[in-house]
């Protein structure tokens, strides 16, 4: 019941925002709805804390240790984005003179996106998981091209076509999964339920499962932004509103990786875990390195951090590929901290870009002088995303590197190289952006949009210094689940 | 004995009904294009007229020029004996399998091309070159198609293939769908039909087949034209044998002949209608698009082969 409550809270927002989601009331309503959703999620988390994992709705919906952690993050980032969106969009609406209809579209589509993300995390049906992922793609296409600029349209088109094709591959994988499941579970409407599949996973035909996994990895991997399928990601992040970039990086990539993990659990039953592990490690390292070297060439600040998202998702994928409980734990921690930090980065950088009026790194100068609040927000968020010590990212990266040393020591240099190059690519530019004299004739941004940055960053510090006991429990269970 | 009679009957039937089929096709096309047809029998009148005219030999041509019309006509008549049209298992059938059949067609083509080049006129040479361009692509496509059918029946003998296909209830296997499409495209190209060539015009920019005949006259021309008409009927007959084989008689069974003949007439009439409508609906391709057309046919033939291995049917 509490699962349905979360989904209903989120879904009800769509028609509300589509009808009345403009002007001041739209932004406030958007925040209100997501606050409500977060409350429902907290209730759900408490229930999971007491009763453990459970399913409802004839087994169609499921929450377990893996999904509850990600659902919590989705709730927090969703609310943070709604908060940020209020002050950010108020200025964008004036700048682009967006019509009331367009603002309603923005809010309704954004809420649809958040709802599909929650649905993807909470469904037990692998088919519905696909449907939700596709729904997320569709709802964000129009968000990316919200301003109707040539660049935005191009990015949205690329996003739509690449992710559409990618997801088509994932659907093919899902069909193959059902094909394999049919042999064991029979021609049954419940043959795609993950919990059912998990109980019979050792009996699934390995050949079919191998191909199914490859298709789903390629398909959902496109959405994770794994190299070489990452072309859409920097464009979509750069061209859309910053609130959308934050939600894409903070939620969509995570949920896509979550989908791959669900499949991995099933495949590891049918095949040697090395099969899926090697694939994930390969894609992970490749993405990490490609993204790291791409970062060096970027001149656009939002593209820079979009590539950083690819890098971090590559790292998390790699961690799950290693497959030991410790590595899986680290991967999960990395997903969570990256989600919180990267959305904070896009909030703060988005504000800076909006004030300066350009995304070019060279033109963004003296943020500390312009507004100390914004300057500190950018500085902390970027330092955290680079893995500076008090953040959760430091902890997770440390754990990932140490478990690599234990299991695949020869890969460690590649990891360190990727991380080092990223640091070298971002850190000097951060100095340029934050210090120095502020450009003339630029107004300081409003403070209210920065609040979620600090809230989320403090959560990341909590993750890095003292992980709450319940969270550790959940993540350990999830890691064991992934380990098989 | 009856088998030999049927063999002779088949060759004569093909040879003497070929002008009728070509005439029917022309009449149908005319009707479909809102023109008044010249009647189905016009081709006979043309041939009759040509046979009674003097045939001239172009200056500076060799014996090849004179010999080619007979060679071509003979090759097609022989082919008419090999293909199972009226019945399977005819006496001549073991003489050649599908590969030899394609070779026979190639032989006729070589005669035609050599004779055209022998005249030394630019148009004929041009036509010869174009003919070889098309043929070089059409032949592998034809072979791929025939191989698909022979894989299905595990024999390259046309008679065995047809006998086997007739027994299967669903002769349109997936692989045969591809083969049929490819074969139809080859048929259009090999017989100088639209969209590859237009048999009704003498436009020097586009003509292929007609260009090679420019220097011929009298009975030589008559034999060449007749040969081309027989060739068209043979291709249609192969198509019918491979893709619509129902109702064909086993060798030596005279009792089955009435049914076979009726079925055959219906199938040929349907083929004429199909060809006429395709030729009316399609526009002629520019010459340099023709290789593209043939390449498509070849690739379809290959897919036919592939899906046979994949689907086993």
């Amino acid at each position: 019941m509490s699962i349905l409550l979360v989904l209903i809270c989120a879904a009800i927002g769509i028609p509300l925002l589509a009808l009345w989601g403009d002007g001041r009331r739209g932004a406030v309503m958007f925040i209100g709805i997501n606050a409500l959703v977060l409350l429902a999620i907290l209730a759900l988390a408490l229930r999971v804390l007491w009763n453990g994992p459970f399913t409802t709705g004839d087994g169609q919906f499921m929450v377990d240790d893996l999904s509850i952690v990600l659902v919590l993050v989705a709730g927090v980032v969703g609310l943070g984005t709604a908060f940020f969106s209020r002050s950010y969009m108020a200025r964008e609406i004036v700048h682009w003179s967006l019509s009331r209809r367009r603002v309603r579209l923005y809010h309704a589509m954004f809420q649809t996106f958040l709802t599909t993300m929650l649905l993807a995390l909470l469904t037990n049906n692998m088919g519905i998981l696909w449907v939700a992922m596709e729904g997320a793609t569709l709802s964000t296409v129009l968000l990316v091209s919200l301003f109707h600029t040539a660049e935005g349209l191009e990015a949205a088109w690329k996003y739509f076509i690449l992710c559409g094709v990618g997801l088509a591959m994932a659907l093919f994988g899902t069909i193959l999964l059902y094909f394999a499941a049919q042999k064991v579970l029979g021609h049954d409407a419940n043959a795609l339920l993950w919990t059912h599949l998990k109980t019979v996973r050792h009996q699934l035909q390995p050949q079919v499962m191998a191909i199914a996994f490859i298709f789903m990895l390629v398909g959902y991997g496109t959405k994770i932004g794994l190299s070489p399928l990452n072309n859409w990601l920097p464009d979509a992040h750069a061209s859309g509103p910053s609130s959308v970039s934050a939600a894409l990086s903070g939620l969509l990539l995570n949920v896509a990786l979550y989908a791959v993990l669900r499949v991995k659990v099933l495949v590891d039953g049918a095949l040697d875990p090395d099969f899926s592990g090697r694939l994930l490690m390969g894609f992970g390292v490749l993405s990490l390195l490609v993204a790291a070297f791409s970062i060096l060439r970027q001149r656009d600040v939002k593209r820079l951090f979009a590539y950083s998202s690819i890098e971090h998702m590559g790292l998390a994928t790699f961690a799950f590929g290693i497959g030991t409980p410790l590595a899986s734990f680290a991967g999960l921690l990395h997903m969570i901290s990256h989600s919180l930090t990267k959305s904070a980065v896009f909030f703060s950088v988005g504000q800076a870009v909006q004030s300066i009026g350009s995304r070019e790194i060279q033109r963004i100068r003296g943020l500390l002088e312009l507004s100390p609040f914004l300057g500190w927000a950018v500085m902390l968020a970027v330092l955290f995303i680079l893995g500076m010590p008090p953040s959760g990212i430091f902890l997770s990266e440390f754990l990932i590197v140490t478990s690599t040393l234990q299991v695949q020591p020869w890969l460690t240099p590649f990891l360190l190289l990727g991380l080092g190059v990223t640091f070298a690519g971002i850190f000097p530019r951060l100095q340029g952006m934050v210090f120095g004299p502020a450009p003339a004739g630029v107004d300081a941004p409003p403070v209210s949009g920065i609040v979620p940055v600090f809230v989320q960053l403090s959560l990341v510090v909590v993750l890095g210094v003292f992980v709450p006991w319940t969270l550790i429990q959940w993540m350990q269970h999830a890691a064991r689940l992934l380990h098989g | 004995m009856t088998a030999i009679l049927m063999e002779v009957a088949q060759v004569l039937l093909v040879a003497f009904l070929a002008p009728l089929f070509a005439g029917l096709l022309r009449a149908l096309r005319a009707i479909l294009q809102n023109r008044r047809p010249a009647g189905c029998w016009q081709n006979y009148r043309d041939l009759y007229r040509l046979f009674h005219k003097e045939s001239l030999q172009a200056e500076g041509t060799s014996w090849l020029f004179r010999f080619a019309p007979y060679g071509i006509f003979a090759a097609f008549c022989l082919a008419a004996g090999i293909i199972p049209i009226l019945a399977t298992g005819l006496p001549l059938a073991p003489a050649a399998d599908v590969i030899a059949l394609v070779g026979l067609f190639a032989l006729a083509r070589v005669f035609q091309v050599l004779a055209a080049m022998d005249t030394g006129t630019p148009f004929a040479t041009l036509g010869a070159h174009r003919e070889m361009l098309i043929a070089g692509l059409a032949e592998p496509a034809l072979l791929a198609t025939l191989f698909t059918a022979s894989l299905l029946s595990q024999s390259t003998s046309l008679s065995v293939i047809v006998a086997h296909l007739e027994q299967l209830r669903f002769a349109l296997h997936p692989s045969m769908v591809f083969a049929a499409t490819a074969f139809f495209m080859v048929l259009l190209a090999e017989n100088a039909r639209i969209p590859v060539d237009n048999p009704a015009t003498h436009l020097e920019l586009t003509m292929i087949h007609e260009a090679m005949l420019l220097e011929y006259s009298g009975r030589h021309l008559a034999l060449m034209e007749w040969g081309a008409q027989i060739k068209l009927v043979l291709y249609v007959a192969i198509g019918i044998a491979l893709f619509l084989p129902w109702g064909i008689a086993p060798a030596g069974q005279l009792t089955a002949l009435p049914l076979t003949l009726t079925a055959l007439l219906l199938k040929f009439a349907a083929a004429a209608l199909a060809l006429a409508s395709v030729e009316t609906l399609l526009a002629k391709l520019r010459l340099f698009r023709a290789p593209e057309f043939m390449a498509t046919a070849f690739l379809l033939g290959v897919i036919g082969l592939l899906s046979f291995f994949m689907l086993g049917a």
């Binding site: 169609q60 093919f172 191909i211 | 296997h173 769908v177 689907l311």
Partner: protein, 225 residues
């Protein structure tokens, strides 16, 4: 779900025939330069798909597949091609499609993809009985061919046609290889396809408004520095 014995003798060959037709249409699309014909081919693919679904419904006696077949016929064979047709006229896109590669090379690449798809699906077909043998391979080949078409085309509409053709291939895999996915999933997938199509429509008009053209070569401004 099993197929009645008398269905095996004629139903399965017919289903295979439809599969071959689907692949044939996918090839025809790859070789086609004209947008209008492309849309017609897409509609025919929809018809084949609906016929396949109806056949499976008949063979297995699943009532919901009849519903699915009707929906497919209405959406993929009639509604979507009609809308595309109208879009083509309203946006006044010129008739020709240019291919990036020339057609024979594209077709050769297509053959390579078909071989790849067949060999990839070979272990799966080896496992299954006679019923659905080869269907996975053909459906995968159709999907990959549509994918190839998308890559080699410039015009937005032909890319969308490719996208929808991918969808057709997937649906065919779902109905003929697995004899129908669970109803919830099929409905969800159909809903997504419909929404995606509507969004594309909106998108086309945005594009038209901004670029005055439907040629995707205008969309090559973002480049890696």
């Amino acid at each position: 779900m099993t197929i009645a014995a008398q269905g095996l003798t004629w139903g399965i060959p017919l289903l295979r025939l439809l599969a071959a037709l689907l692949l044939l249409l996918a090839f025809a699309m790859l070789a086609q330069r004209r947008l209008l014909t492309l849309i017609h081919l897409l509609a025919w693919q929809g018809v084949v798909l609906a016929a396949g679904t109806a056949l499976v419904a008949l063979l297995t006696g699943q009532a919901e597949l009849w519903f699915s077949a009707t929906l497919t016929l209405a959406l993929k064979a009639i509604l979507i091609p009609m809308v595309l047709h109208r879009l083509l006229r309203r946006l006044q896109v010129r008739g020709d499609v240019e291919a990036v590669l020339n057609i024979p090379v594209t077709l050769l690449a297509g053959i390579a993809l078909v071989i790849f798809a067949f060999s990839l699906a070979a272990p799966i077909s080896a496992l299954t009985g006679t019923v659905t043998r080869g269907m996975v391979g053909i459906a995968l080949a159709a999907v990959l061919l549509a994918f190839l078409m998308m890559i080699t085309r410039h015009k937005a509409i032909s890319q969308v046609v490719g996208f929808l053709a991918i969808d057709n291939g997937l649906f065919f895999a779902a109905t003929s290889a697995t004899l129908g996915m669970p109803m919830v999933v099929e409905l969800g997938v159909a809903l997504d396809a419909l929404i995606g199509f509507v969004i594309l429509g909106i998108f086309f008009f945005q594009m038209r408004e901004t670029f005055d053209s439907m040629d995707l070569r205008h969309l090559e401004r973002i480049r890696e520095e």
